[in-house]
Amino acid sequence: MKEQLARMRAEALAALEAVKDAAALDELRVKYLGKKGELTAVLKQMGRLSAEERPAMGALANEVRAAVETALETASKKLEEAALERKLKAETVDVTIPGKTAHMGHRHPMYMALDEIKEIFVGMGFTVLDGPEVELAELNFDRLNAEEGHPSRDWSDTFYFDADSRVMLRSQTSPMQVRAMETMELPMRIIAPGRVYRKDEVDATHSPMFHQVEGMVIDKNVTMADLKGTLNKLVEQLYGPGTRTRFRPHHFPFTEPSCEMDVQCHKCGGAGCPTCKGEGWIELLGAGMIHPTVLEMSGIDPNVWSGWAFGIGLERTAMRRFKIADLRLIFENDVRFLEQF
């Protein structure tokens, strides 16, 4: 009986080692461990043994059962693994076949540039304002110190809605300075992005409608050094740290002193090239300390309060930011262009 058990064990283990599929495995399970299986058959002979032999033989039988069960388990696992492997292999795809497109829409690149500017200034405590485009000449010009006779008031430069040149399309976002001064509490920090209009024919760098962002701060002890510091911050955020800038004297009726800010040419790094017309610098924006007369016209005492303001052209900023070669692309709205951003 002992030999019987040993032989069965050896046979079973060998068979399980070689088993090829789940059906064969099941057959083996029944053959050895089933109710009518070999082990049961052997155990049925236990009755014939003496009382002394029984425990030893019982232990041996249990040991054989355990061994066969373990082998069954192992074989089963192996088969499962093999089956999974075959399945996975069968499911292999060509990963270079294009994915199914999830079509996302795109923010217009000019508004992307505007979003960046807004974020920078909102972070510095500025409020974003919106205002009318059909504007009073009084706010666009007079209240900004551009008197009767200022060339930009000419009908050749500005669009008007009435013969008295009273209502016009704003030629700059600067009237928002006046509107803010009229309605907001001091001190104030605002930016006002929006559309502006000038009588320029459409070409690669001009459009009769374009966008500006106006910025203004009025507070006590505001200095031109603050203006420089803030604008440098803006440029750093827009064009990366280490972007070099310079400030040049300029003239705007509503600021004094006035300046224009240049950034070093990104193409040549300042050596001079066609992009910067050989100057090494590219004009970015106009700015200055708010003219005391402008403050006075809005009832703000320039002896107590001072302020600065700037205006930046959005199209040009976006064009530089994304290296867009032609302004017309911005208003053409070809999806092949829009979907690049």
């Binding site: 559309r195 002193p257 709205n333």
Partner: protein, 895 residues
């Protein structure tokens, strides 16, 4: 404003390189646009003297010249030009030389004859006849160059001989000898049978052996024009050729020096507040301050002494005193009109002004030097010796120097004599008093006119001139006297005439210098600097401000300096904008942020993008015809638009009252670019009449537009629904719209949130597509942002997730075609007894099994109780009630 650096150096020595000069001037406030080196493109071109000329052995039109170029040996040069003669001084581009346009000249071989360079024309030097008026070439018609148009019918016989009659008094004659008669004229000896004639002619293409057409009656050698000949009949007798120099120069001299091309011209952008910088002296003052160099100005000295007493010769009245702050005039007699000298011409040329004659050139020269526009007019046409500066009469006419007849109004200021206007003050002189070749007595006017009057006058006549551009900025009245004296000084220097003693000078204003207090603390506080008071004073003095203690007297030409901030700018400019420190703002913190409108826009934009819509930006102004394209009726009140009175063109002439046509334009453009499946959105304004102060009501709209394979009515509607869901709008519903002209009458819906109409969504009417030339269905939605802002739902609040399972039931009902799904859904909701949680449409079927005119509509119902598991019986109870309602209210029966 152009500036010749050569001229600048007369007043201030600046040796900086062009680049350094440009940068330093730019940073001190005079922005340099470009610098042009006039002779940069020319090298190795010298003056040469023609030593001899031989006809080319192998050509009927070329000459072989030996030319002295100042070297040991003459060089041989072959030329096709016929206007040169032995002894002429000409520009020679030597072997390995460069000319404008990158033209490289090297030695060569012309029909077997060696040529070591090229003789140059004015054009080849980058010049023209305006630069050198004497460079004009007149060509005689040489009969030996005659090529008949029709060989069978020649106008001149091929065997023409001297003495042959050409026509009338014109005979063929041989040129025996040619000799210079000076001033670009030539003495020719002509022979024809048994006769000899001596002729002086301006024609430069004559040489011994030529045959010409000689008019025996007038004694002139005929040109092509005289013979009414075409150029192709005399292909080599052209008004072009070598530039024969009439300059004081010698062989070997650098042509750049001789022609004044050894100068750099700097173009400045001068801001309108600085008219004083529209002059060489003004810029010299800025340059002196910028480079810390001495400024040497010159007081004009006039000898005078011409016959006559000015007061008797000339009387000036200024009835329009309010428009003429100052009128200054002097007189010059016995004027000899001639070209001005080379130094003056080259300076004018460098500054972009065309030389004309000595008197006109002097006025232009003084205008450039002093920034004071001058006018010279012929005294003999000033009737009564009286100049009256008055407003024009309504309808008065004047022919200006450019030959145009100008119809004037009382808003124009004229210079007149007793009878008529002789000039348009501050804008342009009159043709009737123009300086001409035989002008003898000249009045120089140097006046100051009201800027606004001149600007408006020039604008209304559409003739903005150099003078008016200066006057309109407001000139310094104190400048008129030195300027007129300078003009008279130049007259004497050029020997152009004799100056009458005395000046007529009418002052209609009281000069009042501006005196400001120097407030160093305030200036430093404004700039954020720490500039010492003494440095501020030094800067101001460099600019000719007088500083005594803290009193600053502003120079008369600096009308722009009125208060402390203006002084601060002067200090900052020369302290250096880039030396001002950079600091970040201190002071009270402000909160900042976005408005509710702006947050709404961002939310809508993000959602639209997530659904595949690309953002576009379109013009706010459109053409009125756009309303026709979207089929608005001619009397549609929405056509009431803000109309631009001076638009660039019809296409951009009115402010849109709808964003739809802008969207359709862009859809069309993309369609024409063959872009498939396009989805676009824009957040843009419309402009409606009726705002405060006569302004517009500028409401924003979200406009969606789309076409393509994956687009239909329900897809665009789905996008609208998703947007409204994102905004958590309550009570969203869609009602059919059958009469919105741009839209398909059966595929258009009004969008509502409760009782608030938000906008419209639909497929565009096929006729609209036709108007745009698009033959695929177009879809759009227009939603008003103010309405969306109001319809936005409250912030979300947590609703417990269902604890108990629901029961699903599908029902299909058959009803009339006219019954809408919306009506069925509403009815289902009403019919349920409180367990219905969700209704969703899953099928609409028409066809076999369903009667004609009916449809089967199938819904999936979800029923659920919040406090227990629902039994099938309970659910069926509700469904029964729903079906009963459907049957009673809509005649819809279970299929």
């Amino acid at each position: 404003m152009n500036l010749s650096r050569e001229w600048l150096n007369e007043f201030v020595p600046v040796t900086a390189s062009d680049k350094e000069f440009a940068e330093a001037m730019t940073l001190s406030g005079s922005k340099v646009e470009t610098t042009t080196d006039l002779g940069a493109e020319i090298s190795n071109v010298v003056v040469g003297r023609i030593l001899s000329m031989e006809r080319h052995p192998d050509s009927d039109h070329m000459w072989v010249c030996q030319v002295d170029v100042g070297a040991d040996q003459p060089v041989q040069i072959v030329t096709g030009a016929w206007n040169i003669h032995v002894g002429d001084l000409v520009p020679v581009a030597k072997d390995n030389s460069w000319l404008p346009g990158g033209v490289h000249i090297t030695r060569g071989n012309l029909r077997g004859v060696k040529s070591k360079g090229m003789l140059c024309s004015l054009k080849e030097l980058g010049l023209d006849e305006r630069d050198f008026p004497y460079g004009v070439i007149t060509a005689a018609a040489l009969l030996n160059d005659y090529h008949p148009i029709d060989p069978d019918k020649p106008s001149v016989p091929a065997d023409v001989r001297p003495g042959h009659k050409i026509y009338g008094p014109v005979l063929a004659a041989a040129v025996e000898a040619v000799e210079s008669a000076g001033e670009g004229r030539w003495s020719c000896t002509l022979t024809y049978p048994e006769k000899t004639a001596a002729v002086v002619t301006p024609c430069q293409n004559l040489h011994e052996g030529d045959m010409v057409a000689y008019n025996t009656k007038t004694g002139a050698i005929c040109t092509l024009a005289d013979l009414h000949a075409e150029q192709r009949e005399f292909p080599h007798c052209i008004p072009d050729g070598i530039f024969v120099l009439q300059e004081d120069c010698a062989p070997g001299d650098d042509i750049r020096e001789v022609t004044g091309l050894n100068d750099q011209v700097v173009e400045f952008e001068i801001t309108p507040n600085r008219p004083d910088c529209l002059s060489v002296i003004g810029l010299a003052r800025e340059a002196a301050a910028t480079f810390n160099a001495p400024l040497t100005l010159h007081d004009p000295v006039v000898k005078g002494g011409a016959e006559g007493v000015l007061a008797e010769l000339l009387d000036v009245e200024t009835p329009a005193a309010d428009l003429v702050p100052r009128y200054t005039a002097r007189m010059v007699r016995n004027v000899k009109i001639a070209p001005s000298p080379k130094w003056m011409r080259r300076r004018l040329r460098a500054m972009g002004v065309r030389p004309i004659n000595n008197i006109v050139d002097i006025t232009n020269y003084v205008m450039l030097e002093y920034g004071q526009p001058m006018h010279a007019f012929d005294y003999r046409y000033v009737t009564g010796g009286k100049i009256i500066v008055r407003r024009a009469a309504e309808g008065e006419e004047l022919t200006t120097l450019d030959g145009n007849v100008r119809k004037l109004t009382a808003n124009h200021l004229v210079i007149a004599d007793e009878n008529r206007a002789v000039g348009l003050a501050g804008i342009m002189g009159g043709m009737n008093s123009e300086i001409v070749a035989d002008t003898a007595d000249v009045v120089f006017e140097s006046a100051c006119f009201d800027g606004t009057c001149i600007r408006k006058g020039a604008l209304s006549l559409g003739m903005r001139t150099e003078a008016s551009a200066k006057f309109e900025k407001g000139l310094d009245p104190l400048n008129t006297l030195p300027a007129v004296n300078r003009a008279c000084e130049l007259v004497e220097l050029l020997g152009a005439g004799e100056v009458v003693d005395g000046v007529i000078d009418i002052l209609n204003y009281v000069p009042q210098p501006t005196v400001l207090e120097l407030e160093p603390e305030k200036i430093n506080a404004l700039l954020g600097t720490d500039v010492p008071e003494a440095d501020m004073a030094a800067i101001l003095r460099k600019l000719d401000f007088q500083v005594e203690g803290r009193a600053v007297t502003v120079p008369s030409w600096r009308g722009d300096v009125k208060r402390m901030a203006d002084l601060a700018e002067e200090v900052a400019r020369f302290y250096g904008y880039n030396n001002i420190p950079t600091t970040l703002m201190r002071g009270q913190t402000t909160v900042g942020g976005y408005s509710a409108e702006e947050r709404l826009e961002r939310r809508l934009g993000r959602t639209a993008q997530a659904m595949g819509f690309d953002e576009i930006i379109t013009y706010s102004f459109i053409s009125p015809t756009y309303y026709d394209k979207i089929r608005w009726s001619p009397d549609d009140p929405r056509r009431q638009s803000f109309k631009i009175l001076n638009p660039l063109g019809e296409d951009t002439s009115i402010m849109r009252t709808t964003t739809l046509p802008s969207m359709l334009e862009i859809l069309t453009r993309n369609y024409n670019y063959r872009n498939k499946s396009v989805r676009l959105y824009e957040v843009g304004r419309i402009y409606l009449p009726g705002g405060p102060d006569g302004l517009a009501v500028e409401d924003k709209y979200l406009t969606l537009g789309a076409y393509g394979e994956d687009m239909d009515f329900f897809t665009i509607k789905g996008a609208v629904e998703a947007l409204l869901k994102e905004l958590r709008c309550q009570g969203v519903r869609f009602t059919p719209v059958r009469d919105d002209p741009p839209y398909h009458p059966g595929r258009c819906a009004a969008v509502w949130a409760g009782e608030k109409r938000l906008g419209v969504v639909g497929q565009l009417h096929p006729l609209v597509g036709k108007n745009y030339g698009v033959d695929v269905p177009l879809y759009a939605a227009e939603l008003a942002l103010p309405a969306l802002l109001e319809a936005q739902g409250p912030d979300p609040e947590y609703v417990p997730l269902p604890k108990f399972p629901g029961v699903a039931r599908d029902i299909a009902v058959v009803c009339d075609e006219a019954v809408t799904v919306g009506a069925l859904e509403d009815c289902i909701a009403r019919g349920a007894k409180g367990l219905l949680k969700e209704v969703s449409l899953f099928d609409i079927y028409r066809g076999p099994g369903i009667p004609e005119g009916k449809k089967s509509v199938a819904f999936n119902l979800t029923l659920r109780a919040d406090d227990r598991s629902l039994t099938g019986e309970e659910a069926d109870e509700d469904v029964k009630s729903i079906l009963a309602a459907l049957g009673q209210e809509l005649g819809a029966v279970l299929r």
